[in-house]
């Protein structure tokens, strides 16, 4: 298949449909509206159902019902809308239901604004739902990756029986660049969803989807099972890109939109004879801690570059475990870091690190 041009938001929809997603429940919010709108046009042509829910709360609970019916199902929203989905998400995680949740992040807090931001990093990686649950979180940096990861997300969700989140921002959602839709082949051996509530047909015991355990020992059992699963995901699914690490004097850590800007910075600084590396987490959870084991000895400092005020820095610190000082550069509220400002900060740190 040749390359096509689509907006990121629409590309997610197209990728999802190609991955077998036939159900979408959502509620409008900028800057992700092109996704539900695409689904409302395309799903009916593919024997699927697009339904606009009355709210984000309702949408995520429709996802619960659909996922527990064995369907491949998706929802999407943006920051405050995802805040509203937190209860639903923890239920889905607890009931071990597969689904894909997209967050096209906008500036916060509160109603905030609609320009690109990454200030939902905590929300994605630490959750705002209750309890010890995790989402597998993909943070694509370009549309090809967005499309590939979207398709992969459905497989991973089914395989691990876990909600998967795709985190982008308005830039990723609104931009166009060439995309190739490859034939979709799951990297997992997926089994029948024999746990789904599809009616007993009088042929089996009832299937029950449930997250209530009044006996704490039973609830802890669920938690042990979840923790085992999360350990498995941690060891199998952490992904990252390491860029220009050789001889790096400093390694920047950035994901998504910000990582693209950082790559420009790195190229520019290379021209100036300054070697800057990049660790780009592709999964925010599990955070690619291993990437920090291979930092060259030339490197004297790390720097988290975010469109948020120091959220990923927690994970950078935990991953580097005190081995290197961790600096920070961030913008917020829809302001996109400018290459110049990052360069300045890098120079400041390198100066200081010498």
């Amino acid at each position: 298949m040749g390359k096509v041009l689509m907006k990121g938001n629409e590309a997610i929809g197209a990728a999802a449909i190609k991955a077998g997603c036939r159900f979408f429940f959502g509620y409008p919010i900028t800057p992700q509206n092109e996704l539900p709108e695409y689904m409302s046009r395309e799903l009916p042509k593919n024997e699927g159902v697009f339904l606009q829910a009355e709210s984000e709360v309702s949408a995520i609970n429709m996802v619960y019902g659909a996922a527990a019916s064995g369907a491949r199902v998706m929802t999407s929203s943006s920051s405050p809308g995802i805040a509203l989905k937190q209860e639903g998400i923890t239920y889905i995680a607890a009931a071990e239901l597969p689904c894909v949740i997209v967050n096209i992040v906008r500036g916060g807090p509160g109603l905030g604004g609609i320009q690109p931001a990454q200030s939902d990093y905590y929300q994605a990686t630490r959750g705002g739902g209750n309890g010890d649950y995790k989402l597998l979180v993909y943070a694509p940096a370009n549309l090809q990756e967005l499309v590939d990861l979207t398709q992969d997300a459905f497989d991973a969700a089914d395989y691990y029986r876990t909600p998967v989140m795709i985190v982008g921002d308005g830039m990723i959602g609104q931009m166009m660049e060439p995309i190739e839709f490859k034939e979709h082949i799951s990297r997992f051996a997926l089994s029948e969803k024999d746990w789904a509530t599809t009616g007993t047909k009088g042929q089996r015991e009832p299937n029950i989807i449930n997250t209530l355990f009044l006996d704490p020992a039973k609830l802890e059992e669920l938690n042990f099972r979840l923790q085992d699963k999360y350990k498995l995901i941690k060891s199998n699914e952490a992904r990252y890109e390491a860029f220009n690490m050789e001889n790096a004097q400093i390694v920047l850590v950035a994901y998504g939109t910000t990582s693209r800007i950082v790559k420009n910075v790195i190229t520019d600084l290379k021209d100036q004879g300054i070697n800057v590396g990049l660790i780009r987490p592709i999964t925010l959870w599990p955070f690619p801690e291993k990437a920090f084991d291979n930092i060259p000895s030339t490197c004297k400092a790390l720097m988290s570059v975010e469109m948020s005020f120091g959220q990923m820095i927690d994970d950078v610190k935990i991953a580097s475990n005190g081995r290197l000082p961790v600096h920070f550069y961030g913008r917020s509220g829809g302001m996109i870091p400018s290459p110049d400002d990052i360069i300045e900060k890098v120079k400041e740190v390198i100066g200081g690190a010498k």
Binding site: L5, P31, M175, E177, T257, P339
Partner: protein, 180 residues
Amino acid sequence: MINEKIICAGFGGQGVMLMGQTILYAGMVEGKEVSWLPSYGPEMRGGTANCSVIVSDRPIGSPVISNNATSAIIMNLPSLIKFEKDVISGGRLVINSSLIEKKSSRSDIKAYYIPANDIAVELGNSRVANTVLLGAYLKLTKILSDTSIMKALHKAFSGTKAHMLDINMAAYERGADLVG
């Protein structure tokens, strides 16, 4: 080596988004690295609209053009005021002089004044002013071959818009001729 960073800007409805997408498509057809990024949000409805297009021989980092545009195609006055400063020294401004009386205040960049709306009206439809400017811009920069551009125009004006193809082709030629 090509590394063009183009801002297309004007009123909503003037077709700046489509103009940008035409460059984008032509770039892709030609095997270049390309990206297109629109401004978005409620302000789009009435006010100005703009998009950033990058056409490059190297992989594109950020699709954001902040203060490093190599060219800007400007269709109305507010956009001139907003984006003039973002063009690098030695860069290009292609200005719709039909609607913008003001001249560029920068001496370190090349400004071209194209009476795009007048030409479009001459051609019979003021809505093709964008294509006039596109013609001028692409002729000036030569970043893309005519075949690619023709393909892009054919793609942009197909289906329900097919009836607009001829006039846009004409507009494109007129724009190109003006700077030819």
